[in-house]
């Protein structure tokens, strides 16, 4: 049995909605079959008002074991570091988080807001938002680089906007069943099992990427979205095309460029004019190349790929 408390700070509830889409295990399976005891959740909990405040205080005092604290949403520090722009249960949410993180065996940040600050922390960051242990790429965040939960782990980061439901449920199950040691975290404390491969890994448009056949405007079934439409699939770490979304698809499969939402910089370029759904180029060459590829080799690849491109690569192979 593992007690889970799920709270939301500067959040849109998107990770909760994503979590509720889970199957195998579903959210109900987690409770009935995997020994997860949800102490409280903003969308699911029974308690309100004073009864909830008592529940939170019991966690802090140790009367109730807090095995896993799941946090969704950014830590809101505005105005002037007080956190009063995000009050919860009668006090700044960040004060609750500070105390609860001190007693939790594990802390799991779900979604970009809780991991790196996400959309609320985008310039000019009016809510003074940050993630639990990072602000964008900078380590530290709200809890600081030295923070460790009672079990000796840093905040386990499950980024994504939102995080995939299976990423969340599988980490919760791993913790609840004592198998967290099987999981390796990367430099951003993301479980490598989900975030070592690229978004591009498994994309149905890979063959078009290889031949540099581009989808140059929206709603084309064929072509790669990297060259013109700003797709970040080759530079983004996620398993979106291995563990499909809602069991059926992924953004790049459907024709939407990857926005890089599992990386700390999301949303990239702060969505400055001219950067949305458009590949940034210099002299026709993408400013950002697929991870690990240098400019010279990219130029070479381009020549060879275009030269080798078979005629069918420009046809619609996903035809009606």
């Amino acid at each position: 049995m593992a007690n889970v408390l799920w709270l939301q700070g500067g959040a849109c509830s998107g990770n909760t909605m994503s979590f509720l889409n889970a199957e195998e295990p579903s959210v109900c399976d987690l409770v009935t079959d995997f020994g997860i005891n949800v102490l409280w959740h903003p969308s699911l909990g029974m308690e309100l008002g004073d009864n909830l405040q008592r529940l939170l205080r019991n966690c802090i005092s140790g009367e109730t074991d807090l095995d896993i604290l799941v946090f969704e949403g950014s830590i809101v520090n505005a105005p002037n570091g007080t956190g009063a722009w995000n009050r919860f249960a009668d006090r700044p949410m960040k004060d609750w988080v500070q105390e609860l993180a001190g007693v939790a065996k594990f802390v799991v940040a779900v979604g970009d807001c809780a991991t790196w600050g996400g959309i609320p922390a985008m310039a000019p960051n009016p809510s003074e938002s940050e993630g639990l242990q990072f602000l964008k790429r900078d380590a530290g965040g709200f809890l600081g680089t030295d923070y460790q939960s009672q079990a000796g782990f840093p905040v386990i980061n499950i980024p994504g906007c939102p995080a995939h439901p299976d990423w969340i449920t599988q980490i919760l199950v791993a913790i609840a069943t004592g198998r967290l040691d099987d999981i390796t975290l990367d430099e951003f404390n993301r479980p490598q099992t989900f975030f070592k491969s690229f978004t591009q890994t498994g994309c149905t448009r890979n063959i078009h990427f290889a031949y540099k056949s581009s989808s140059d405007e929206f709603s084309q079934r064929t072509g790669c979205l990297f060259y013109d439409l700003g797709c970040r699939g080759p530079m983004t770490h996620s398993s979106c095309n291995r563990i499909l979304w809602n069991r059926v698809s992924s953004k790049t499969r459907a024709g939407m460029p990857c926005l890089g939402c599992t990386e700390p910089e999301f949303p990239f370029h702060d969505l400055a004019p001219g950067t949305v759904f458009k590949t940034q180029t210099i002299m026709g060459v993408p400013k950002e190349l697929p991870t690990g590829v240098n400019k010279k080799d990219y130029a070479l690849l381009t020549v060879v790929a275009k030269d080798a491109m078979p005629a069918w690569a420009e046809d619609d192979i996903f035809t009606v």
């Binding site: 909605m17 979304w245 809602n246």
Partner: protein, 535 residues
């Protein structure tokens, strides 16, 4: 009630299960709420973030204003740019946008009903009801038979959204000029089978206890009550059971509200809105827009230029007069302390320029659907308006019935979209970017949602949103008029002040969504921002 009876003030922080954090203060006298204040307690400043950004930034940012109604935000964001840029949107794209909107709303009904609303029926307060034991068996969180089936199956409809947009929540597949996808035949057949699965595994056997066709025969409140009595399968379906229990425990006796209702209308017809304009929208909608005034029993069309925001009792330094969203210059105040004579919420008070405060949501949509205003071909359904009149006005139970009554209609509209796609025709016509003002609207599951955008010099000059919960959860306005939920709380009986489940019932019957409300604020300049940033 005696003149000497004491007033007890109860602060409920948070109410919970309303999506986001809602705080309520009520004054109770003789076991009844005599005054109420609703507070939104989170400020993220999304419209501030959007200022100066790429014109299409709203397509990425606004779905993330609300993970629950993200597809509805995307709908508004794309139609707003369509009207600003003067795009042409192909027929297939209108259908693909509508289908995404429908999938999200269909998802929301079981998820909201079981996950957020019905579990209150297992509260010990109702132990004496003959329905209590069965309610616990069905609706207990995680383990209730209907809860488990309903919450799990709520993930199915949005698989259709993922076929179009790659994922739900938080896709940005709708763009000015159409959509990013071009579905193949297998996407369409798979979407059909998902709908069928939803119908045959939950909607008909568990929710209705009858076929969609039998349910569709219900035209009046008497028809509905006769349907319940017709067969045990109807009476014992989750809908039939809920309705009977609600009458038994008195959910039809409180939670009224302000008596005037608003909907922007939704689902533009695929053949009537290919050249979208702000002015042309009302006549192009399948589900018509409107305002219903129950005091005069009249219907009228709703337009964006009739909406106003008032910040007299909200944490903004913007005077006390009504402001149209295009003209707002959001100035959040530093000190957001609770001053019930002054400001006490991040939500603004939204008003109709002539009719004042309006309730948004499914009840509003269904009361408007019963009007004879609008175009002859538009959707008409008189059931909920008839029930409203037979029951003597609004209440929690009717608000809930309106919400779930939409399910079968939305299902039929989704079927329509799937039938009407012409897969070999375009889903996108590349538009030309330009400056201008735009407005996009829809009905999220929980009510009227719209975006205003102003593009100048190739970037966003001003972006404004009014969410359904902004209408409903807003504080008092400059005339001291209570917001719809504040008004609905008046008269609420409180049996146990330590567990005020009745307040929860009222708040949850509006399906409030605070995450979406509390950033419907915009507009400062960069210099002013520096004033309240620490970094």
């Amino acid at each position: 009630m005696t003149a000497t009876s004491a007033v007890q003030t109860l602060d409920i922080s948070p109410v919970g299960r309303v999506e986001g954090d809602l705080d309520v203060r009520v004054d109770i006298r003789d076991g009844q709420v005599v005054n109420a204040w609703t507070r939104a307690e989170l400020f993220r400043g999304f419209e501030i973030i959007l200022k100066g950004k790429d014109p299409q930034a709203g397509l990425i940012v606004t779905p993330r204003a609300c993970g629950i109604c993200g597809g509805s935000h995307l709908t508004c964001a794309s139609w707003a740019l369509d009207t600003a840029w003067g795009t042409e949107v192909p027929r297939n794209a209108i259908l693909a946008r509508n289908l995404g909107q429908l999938a999200e709303s269909i998802q929301s009904i079981p998820r909201y009903f079981y996950g957020l609303y019905a579990i209150d029926l297992t509260n010990k307060k109702y132990e004496q009801s003959a329905f209590y034991e069965e309610a616990c068996r069905r609706f207990a969180p995680y383990t209730g038979t209907s809860y488990e089936q309903g919450v799990t199956i709520s993930g199915k409809p949005v698989e259709i959204y993922a076929l179009l947009g790659g994922q739900w929540p938080h896709s940005s597949y709708m763009v000015p000029g159409g959509v990013m996808c071009a579905p193949t035949l297998t996407d369409i057949t798979r979407a059909w089978s998902i709908l069928e699965y939803f119908r045959t595994n939950w909607l008909e056997p568990m929710w209705l206890g009858c076929s969609l066709e039998r349910y569709e025969q219900i035209q009046t409140y008497d028809d509905f009550m006769a349907w319940i009595d017709e067969k045990p399968e109807h009476a014992n379906s989750d809908l039939g059971f809920y309705w009977r229990m609600g009458l038994d425990i008195g959910l039809d006796t409180y939670g009224g509200g302000c008596g005037r209702y608003v909907t922007w209308g939704y689902l533009p017809h695929e053949d009537r809105y290919q050249k979208p304009t702000i002015e042309g929208r009302n006549a192009a909608l399948i589900m018509k827009s409107g305002v219903y005034d129950s005091y005069t029993d009249t219907h009228s069309l709703m337009r964006q230029d009739l909406a106003r925001e008032n910040t007299a009792h909200a944490w903004y330094d913007e005077g006390t007069n009504d402001i149209h969203p295009f003209d707002r210059t959001t100035q959040p105040i530093q000190n957001n302390s609770h001053d019930y004579d002054g400001a006490y919420s991040w939500s603004t008070a939204v008003r109709h320029i002539e009719l004042g405060r309006l309730e948004a949501g499914a009840l509003a949509r269904q009361l408007v659907a019963g009007g004879r205003h609008g175009e002859d071909w538009q959707h008409y359904d008189g059931f909920i308006l008839d029930a409203f009149k037979k029951m003597g006005g609004p209440n929690i139970h009717l608000r809930q019935l309106a919400r779930v009554h939409e399910l079968v209609k939305l299902y039929r509209q989704a079927e329509h979209c799937l039938r009407e796609f012409h897969l070999k025709e375009p889903f996108y016509i590349k538009p030309t970017e330009k400056d201008g003002r735009g407005w996009g609207a829809t009905e999220a599951a929980r009510g009227a949602l719209c975006h205003w955008v102003e593009v100048e010099g190739g970037k966003i000059k001003n972006y404004q949103m009014i969410a359904p919960t902004t209408w409903n959860v807003g504080p008092r306005d400059n005339e001291g008029v209570r917001g719809p939920i504040e008004e609905a709380l008046i008269g609420t009986p409180i049996a146990d002040p330590t567990d005020p489940v009745e307040v929860g019932h009222v708040a949850r019957s509006f399906d409030s969504c605070l995450v979406c409300t509390v950033h419907a604020h915009d507009g400062k300049t960069g210099e002013e921002l520096a004033r309240f940033r620490t970094a």
